[in-house]
């Protein structure tokens, strides 16, 4: 074994900061009277960690931990996810009567897990990060203890998550047995040397299933709608962006670095999964009359789009995927922010019915929701269009023109349920008692940020594009 010293921790500095922050938040929670303090502290910690991310490039622990542009890009997604989630949560937790400071600590630890996943150069570290992320999110899913739906979501998520962890571990074991290493780049070298064999391909399938679970690719998405619907809305927002992006980060690194030489073999499977995911997500989303559940299926569908980036592969494909996930994070969190805004004491604000005539009663909320729905559909000049455009461009560039056509068709289907929300808001008359908005300064800030970014990227995408392109290498 190599010499162990402090300098090995340098690339991990952001992670160390986040871990300390998690502990600190937990302690602050014990003494703070206002639980929001814990939330603000976690945001401050993220700011510090984010500052150190670009200064921490390098490998550590013999390549087990890799901090590079790729991981840095994803870490920024996680940070944004954390900040926006915290902003969304502050007032929401009070309304849900679950205002406990542990929430923020769990969010920080979950984010730490994601960061480890993005930086994992070794399957063991990947597993470690994944479990840290997942365990925290299981608790978060069941955070409203007095709500049966929340508890049910947590139990389902936990049991099925354990199932997927088992798949991942089994895949890792097989790979280890076949190549004698868990280091992703060494696996890549060994795979090139040994070529394709049935056991190796089976292990690839196991890993694919495990990542498919975390990214909610059909048919491994089954948990997502129930969990997303049952979990506290702020947690749903958090889970639909962060863990998904983290899984994609690991997915991309393991498959393109580790099994890159076999890509011609596994892309076929992934294409099938992608189409299946888009089909299931979009078609079932049409059926929903609960916005949260609709967004849950929409998030499944978006995973189907994002995975195209891995199918395309190379820096071009990865950049398109990263770009997409970044944009998706903002628009999805924004949409959930509106859902949270409609939630107030006694009113769930999740039913599509609640959005009837929103443009008349709350024109501002309706306008903001309109932006997010347009963006999720992919209508210019919103960010969603940019994300889809570059994804399609990458897909077409890789010679999968037909796949791009299929994706466009499913996109068109998705317009049906996204624009239905718009239709409810703008074309129908408000019914019964008007919904009251629970707008807090923090939620307002979150809405402002997401709206601005969604429009800004839509109008001026090139900084993001070049950042993603640079990060993808």
């Amino acid at each position: 074994m190599n010499e162990i010293n402090v300098s090995m921790l340098a690339p991990l500095l952001p992670e160390v900061i986040m871990a300390s922050a998690g502990i600190l938040v937990l302690l602050v929670e014990l003494v703070a009277r206002r639980k929001e303090t814990a939330g603000l502290l976690s945001i401050a910690a993220v700011a510090v960690a984010a500052y150190y991310v670009p200064h921490s490039f390098g490998k550590s622990f013999g390549g087990m931990f890799v901090s590079d542009g790729y991981s840095a890009f994803f870490k920024f997604i996680f940070f944004i996810n954390l900040i926006l989630t915290v902003l969304l949560s502050m007032r929401y937790l009070v309304i849900e009567k679950s205002n406990h400071g542990e929430y923020y600590s769990l969010v920080v630890f979950s984010t730490l897990g994601m960061m480890l996943m993005a930086s994992a150069g070794d399957l063991i570290v990947l597993y470690l990060g994944l479990e840290l992320m997942a365990l925290s999110s299981y608790v978060l899913a069941g955070f409203i203890r007095h709500d049966a739906r929340s508890s049910e979501a947590a139990v389902k998520y936990f049991l099925l998550g354990a199932f997927s962890s088992a798949l991942l571990l089994y895949g890792i074991t097989l790979v280890y047995g076949l190549t004698g290493t868990t280091d992703v780049s060494l696996i890549g070298a060994a795979v090139v040397e040994k070529g394709l064999s049935t056991p190796l391909f089976l292990s690839v399938v196991f890993l694919m299933a495990a990542f498919g679970f975390k990214t909610a690719l059909a048919p491994f998405h089954m948990w997502a709608p129930d969990v997303y619907e049952g979990a506290p809305t702020s947690v749903t927002a958090f889970m639909s962006v962060g863990p998904k992006a983290a899984a994609f980060a690991a997915f991309g690194r393991v498959f393109l670095t580790g099994f890159g030489s076999l890509s011609t073999d596994w892309t076929g499977i992934l294409v099938v999964l992608s189409i299946l995911t888009m089909a299931v997500g979009n078609i079932l989303a049409i059926q929903q009359d609960n916005i949260k559940r609709m967004l849950a299926y929409s998030s499944v569908a978006h995973a189907g789009y994002a995975v195209l980036g891995i199918i395309v592969g190379g820096a071009e494909g990865l950049a398109a995927m990263m770009n997409y996930l970044f944009i998706y994070g903002f628009m999805n969190l924004g949409a959930f922010a509106v859902v949270i805004m409609l939630r107030s004491e006694g009113v769930r604000g999740e039913a599509l019915e609640d959005y009837k005539g929103l443009a008349k009663t709350h024109p501002f909320a309706a306008a903001v929701m309109l932006v997010f729905m347009f963006s999720l559909t992919g209508i210019p000049p919103t960010a969603g269009f940019i994300g889809k455009f570059y994804l399609f461009k990458a897909v077409v560039g890789a010679g999968y023109a037909w796949l791009a056509v299929v994706t466009v068709i499913f996109s068109a289907i998705s317009a049906y349920f996204y624009l239905r929300v718009v239709m409810y808001m703008y074309m129908l008359e408000p019914e019964g008692e008007a919904v009251t908005l629970s707008l807090s300064p923090s939620l307002g800030l979150a809405l402002l940020i997401t709206t601005l970014v969604v429009i800004l990227i839509g109008v001026y995408p090139s900084p993001l594009l070049s950042f993603a392109r640079l990060a993808a290498g």
Binding site: L167, T198, I283
Partner: protein
């Protein structure tokens, strides 16, 4: 030189400010952000002009929105001599109109909305003229159209105003359809939408033909004509001129800015900007010249008998735009832009004077009910008189120089040139006549309105008359930077046509080899016919006022033809509008509600819904079935792998 960006950005900022805060916060102060912004743009424009005059031009992509292969959507700016001239015209007239509107729109309930739109328009127009690629040109083109639509229908409670807005919008669709096709053709042909790249490549495809319905058509000609369709719509040339007179339903400052000085000249600007394309196609050039000449005469004849003060000026605008196209069509793009530039001043002045008159008359537009206003509003009278002299082409006012240059280059244009010159000269007589008919009817003679109106008569406030005075200076002196050598040599200056020299790098300048005596003759002739026009108007409306009525009775058919604008609206109604309505009502609605839309819009989702309902049953909420589905999926994948690898 990056400060040029302020020119469009300032009005954009003012627009955002007014549209967001106008209703609640800014309200009656809405003119401040907009006017200050455009004043700022004007100042920066002067700085840019000085830069350009010292030889610094610029063409850069500021930012690229999306790229896909050759297709690039970017925002870029091209600042050269042509742009600089347009910037000066747009910002200066826009500024004066902003100021004027403070008085004119004073008590309007939509005050903030008016200024917001005005700023948005200014921004769009500036983006249009500074574009360095076709797509941005197209967006600016559509954006100014949208603003025009919003401002024509500004008093949307008034049925005729909202109808006029719609009419302008729909008629422009026809032209823009061709324009859009032209842009697409440009992209297909050159693989890029960048001006410079397209211009560089234009020479290479000059000889290419393309087969359309069995006929070989020259590619460049096709592109140029398609693009020209857009200009015909936007600049209200025959046969798409019908929207502009109706557009007078909008507030008068809007007519001055959008429907006289700037937006309607976008077509001329576009042809001049794209002169490397147009120059390659003699056919397209001839079409441009002929359409321009026909329009110039056609609109002038209608203007002879109209009684609505604003409509007379509107037809005169159409006619003058025709002159600009004449110039472009005979290859003298610089002369066209020169006329655009002088026209902006005297025509904006005419409109603002008309606005001033209407202001005094309580919104009255019928000249039959005016008369003798000279006494009540001397400043308006004198400025309008000067503008009328200018438009009639009386030296040494601005209109003389630009119109004379156009007629002179047309005279020497070869091909259709001589015929076009004849039409243009004929139109010049009519121009002088109707302009002075307007003056005499409005300001001379006895007041013919109601007693109440007479009581109300007053000169407009300073905030309105000062812009008139400033524009008047332009209407007098704007032409002095383009004095032909034949005149300047009298004063000992050999080459005083600085304007043509200035624009030469962008649009070139036709070399005319003709004896000075001929030039003097042509010039003298056009001045003489203008004087004749004025004299006839004087005879008709001052000296012997029965003549018009007698003439109208004698030539009843001709009079009615002119008075009803050649029945063009009626013809369109019968041939286009009515059939379209019928088709919409019976065929489309019948088909769509019955079969197509019903079938597609409801059928496909129904199909998906049915499929979805099946799928949904899988999502039972039962944990074990979820695990089972996942496991099944995994086993299927494994089975596939094993089978494939076997």
């Amino acid at each position: 030189m990056q400060y040029y960006l302020l020119i469009p950005l300032l009005p954009l900022g003012a627009f955002l400010l007014n549209i967001m805060l106008g209703r609640r916060v800014i309200r009656r102060q809405a003119h401040w952000p907009s006017t200050l912004a455009v004043a700022g743009s004007l100042v920066v424009t002067v700085m840019v002009l000085l830069d350009v005059m010292s030889g610094r031009t610029l063409n850069e992509d500021l930012y690229v929105w999306i790229v896909s292969g050759n297709f690039k959507v970017s925002v870029g700016f091209m600042i050269d001599q042509l742009t600089a001239v347009m910037l000066v015209v747009v910002t200066s007239v826009s500024f004066l109109v902003h100021v004027y509107s403070i008085g004119y729109m004073q008590d309007d309930p939509g005050y903030y909305r008016f200024y917001a739109y005005l700023s948005l328009f200014t921004f769009s127009m500036l983006m249009l003229v500074t574009a360095n690629n076709f797509l941005q040109l197209y967006f600016g083109w559509e954006a100014v159209g949208l603003c025009s639509y919003l401002l024509i229908g500004f008093w949307y409670e008034k049925r005729s105003a909202s109808d006029a807005g719609k009419k302008a919008f729909i008629v422009n669709r026809f032209g823009d359809f061709g324009f859009g096709l032209g842009v697409i053709m440009v992209f297909l042909t050159f693989g890029t939408l960048d001006y410079v790249s397209v211009f560089d490549g234009a020479g290479g495809v000059a000889a290419q033909t393309i087969n359309i319905l069995g006929a070989d058509v020259n590619l460049i000609t096709l592109i140029a004509l398609l693009l020209f369709c857009g200009a015909v719509g936007k600049s209200a040339q025959v046969p798409l001129h019908v929207w502009l007179p109706d557009a007078m339903e909008g507030p008068t400052p809007v007519s001055a800015l959008i429907h006289a000085a700037t937006m309607v000249t976008a077509g001329v600007f576009m042809v001049a900007r794209l002169n490397p394309i147009f120059s390659l196609s003699p056919v397209a050039m001839d079409v441009v010249a002929v359409v321009g000449a026909v329009t110039a005469l056609f609109a002038a004849t209608i203007a002879l008998v109209q009684n609505d003060i604003k409509r007379v000026i509107a037809y005169s605008t159409i006619s003058q735009l025709g002159y600009m196209f004449i110039a472009c069509g005979v290859g003298a793009f610089g002369a066209g832009i020169f006329h655009l530039y002088t026209h902006a001043f005297f025509k904006a002045l005419l409109f603002l004077c008309a606005g001033s008159v209407m202001h005094a008359m309580g919104g009255e537009v019928d000249m039959q009910k005016m008369g003798g206003l000279k006494r009540y509003m001397p400043l308006t009278y004198w400025t309008m008189l000067i503008a009328s002299l200018s438009i009639s082409g009386i030296p040494p006012l601005a209109g003389f120089f630009s119109k004379d240059e156009i007629l002179w280059v047309a005279f020497n244009g070869g091909g259709v040139g001589r015929a076009v010159w004849a039409l243009g000269t004929l139109a010049a007589v009519l121009t002088a006549f109707y302009s002075f008919r307007l003056i005499y009817l409005t300001f001379h003679g006895e007041f013919r309105g109601t007693e109440e109106q007479r009581h109300h008569l007053h000169e407009s406030p300073a905030v309105m008359t000062v812009p008139l005075a400033v524009l008047c200076v332009g209407a007098v002196a704007a032409g002095w930077i383009g004095i032909p050598p034949i005149i300047s040599s009298v004063f000992g200056v050999e080459d005083a046509n600085w304007f043509a020299e200035f624009l030469k790098p962008v649009v070139g300048h036709p070399e005319i080899e003709a004896p000075h005596s001929t030039e003097a003759l042509v010039m003298g002739f056009s001045v003489a016919v203008a004087a004749v026009g004025i004299a006839v108007a004087w005879v008709f409306y001052i000296r012997n006022r029965e003549i018009p009525a007698v003439l109208a009775r004698r030539c009843g058919i001709l009079y009615r033809l002119l008075f009803n604008k050649y029945y063009v609206d009626e013809i369109y109604n019968a041939t286009v509008v009515r059939p379209a309505m019928l088709i919409a009502r019976y065929v489309l609605v019948g088909l769509s509600d019955g079969v197509i839309i019903e079938g597609v819009v409801n059928g496909v989702p129904a199909l998906i819904n049915r499929f979805g309902a099946r799928l949904r049953r899988l999502q039972s909420g039962l944990l074990q079935s979820y695990a089972a589905v996942m496991a099944l999926g995994l086993f299927l994948l494994m089975a596939v792998v094993v089978m494939v690898l076997k």
